[in-house]
Symmetry: C2
Amino acid sequence: KSFVEVPPESHFPLENLPYGVFRLQSGSEARPAVAIGDHVLDLSIIASAGLFHGPILENSDCFNQPNLNKFLELGRPAWKEARATLQKLLSATEQTLRDNATLREKALVPMDKVQMLLPVSVGDYTDFFSSMHHAKNCGTIFRGPETAINPNWYHLPIAYHGRASSIVISGTNIIRPRGQGHPTGNSPPYFGPSRKLDFELEMAAVVGPGNELGKPVDVNEAADHIFGLVLMNDWSARDIQAWEYLPLGPFLGKNFGTTISPWIVTLDALEPFSCDAPKQNPPPLPYLAEKISKNYDICLEVLIKPAGQEDSHVVTRSNFNHLYWTINQQLAHHTINGCNLRPGDLFGTGTISGPEPESFGCLLELSWNGQKSLPLGGTTRKFLEDGDEVTFTGVCKGNGYNVGFGTCTGKILPSLS
Amino acid sequence: KSFVEVPPESHFPLENLPYGVFRLQSGSEARPAVAIGDHVLDLSIIASAGLFHGPILENSDCFNQPNLNKFLELGRPAWKEARATLQKLLSATEQTLRDNATLREKALVPMDKVQMLLPVSVGDYTDFFSSMHHAKNCGTIFRGPETAINPNWYHLPIAYHGRASSIVISGTNIIRPRGQGHPTGNSPPYFGPSRKLDFELEMAAVVGPGNELGKPVDVNEAADHIFGLVLMNDWSARDIQAWEYLPLGPFLGKNFGTTISPWIVTLDALEPFSCDAPKQNPPPLPYLAEKISKNYDICLEVLIKPAGQEDSHVVTRSNFNHLYWTINQQLAHHTINGCNLRPGDLFGTGTISGPEPESFGCLLELSWNGQKSLPLGGTTRKFLEDGDEVTFTGVCKGNGYNVGFGTCTGKILPSLS
Ligand SMILES: [Ca+2]
Ligand SMILES: [Ca+2]
Ligand SMILES: [Mg+2]
Ligand SMILES: [Mg+2]
Ligand code: NI
């Protein structure tokens, strides 16, 4: 389908074309790209060559930028135009790029020659809490089964503001945070490296055009404000979080690092994998009621590679479609009070847990707060240990092809002494 | 002391020289300034005229910027250099600017000819909860006197992440937010304009040089990372907040708008007004223990002007020195887990309530959650009404002069229908 070779298991066929920002390992400026097979296509080169002919992109400098924010701000018409141009340009039957060796050499760079960077400058990062299974498990662990899920959870997509400065790109090491943790009983808090370091399997929506302060976005127009999705690991220190979170929510238990995958898969590429969102009961208030409410069928996996081992081991398998609140509902809720969004803002879904124990999205749930050990390739885990490398993958299985997210990975380094 | 006239009650004598960003009302680019009396001194003009002679600022373009972030990043040595240069330049005995009519006309602009803008681009905004009186009052209102203050409060400066995008400059109107509120009892949530709109009397510290992800800042070096303070109104919708905040903290009840005052008063200007911070019991953990722990004696006032009235009425008087946790402790705590700060980040202190009912910092406390009415110039208030204009002032009283913050103001507009 493309003249660029795409291995059969690749996450990045012509049907995907996810957006990222890269730099040559030999050193160069950051610039936007799409992934195709094992290559990145440098969009600044394509733009400079005058190959974006559409009315919106022809004279835009949105691809001569160190991040995708300007392209995202242009909105869905620009995204559609770019996708059409790039799918044509990369197709096996189109000569422009295929038969121009000089241009091809400049524009198509092997992935092993590039370093991926944060694709967007994130103004604000919000983390939701939209998997019912996760909410129920956490509530059961901390408050018992009777009051596991707070009554508000069924009426609105609960969320809190996270830290934008500590969002890092896949591959960045994570230093085990230090902080105050509360031992059981009435003893004073201890201080030291977190003893309950965890991952959270999430995805994040990347905001496109924003809205003006004071002007809510209608839930049925919310999708026009969402560019695409990435994988996200919301690293969490459960002992720090448990001690600090009353009454204002998570803070240092979360803000030491949040890892995202480098490639933003667009909603257009995900469309063939859309599916019905779960039926909501009680029915949502009118401002949250969508005419068409959909999720996406995205298979998610978490693997851990302990220090010194060769192999990674799967610790959980989940799916984006386990989310109760949709990303459109999240966006409509976020703006209903007039809060303004900006291009590049990030919405974490919250930990995506499924109903079965094998599909829980974090170690807090998988080990039931350390009450049981997880087998892990000859060893075991309750929480993360120094040297553990955690990798998320996400993929939509098409008929003979994948639309995938690549990986989101990070290794735990020991605390500073 | 200065050749520029400074009225006796002015907040902006030569001893202050707070930093802000302005634009001419006739239209011009945003640029940094200091306030002196009823004028702003355009620092881009001073820099272009080659009047910053010190080693750090002589060749810097930090004042040819639309915000102060670049100047803030340079750190305390640059701030000291700028202050020395500007105090000399503006003094009554210095001819350079005083006797150069052309330069003076360009550089000194009357305040009524300028529009003040946000002084910094805020990467992340954190709101603390550091007044014990406020914590106790809120806890008593929502949970009763027995468990008013959570045990963690005495061990760490509790905080949560706020919204950076909706931080606005003094004078910006605030549209009453809509959202879900929970009526008493078991009825479903209502939806509509907030019925419990409130102000929160806060100040905010503006971060200078940041720190690298993973590298905490020592509490005894924290002051070098703080440029100065502004007044801050953390507008709050109490009914929205009460319904949404479990278990992840405030979100839409807060993020519809946060107003700051335009002039950042530097810690150098505040130094003569420093005073001992309250003794902390239990003693803080070593990472929070300062060699010298200080607060500042800043008198704070909140006034409300109801729609159609001529006059504003004082509703509370408080003082920055009521804070239990110092801004240095806040900063050390914020980074102890490795969280990275960036120049321009904002730390709200939390509502600054004093011990007496006349010094409570928000209507939630002043009206005891709507249980009593506040007299207000012939009318009364439990929460804010449409058309109310809320003004904060803050001032340090020196011997024959003030070091002040000017005002932080905002008017409530009705909800969109
Ligand atoms: Ca999370
Ligand atoms: Ca507050
Ligand atoms: Mg995180
Ligand atoms: Mg606010
Ligand atoms: Ni004048």
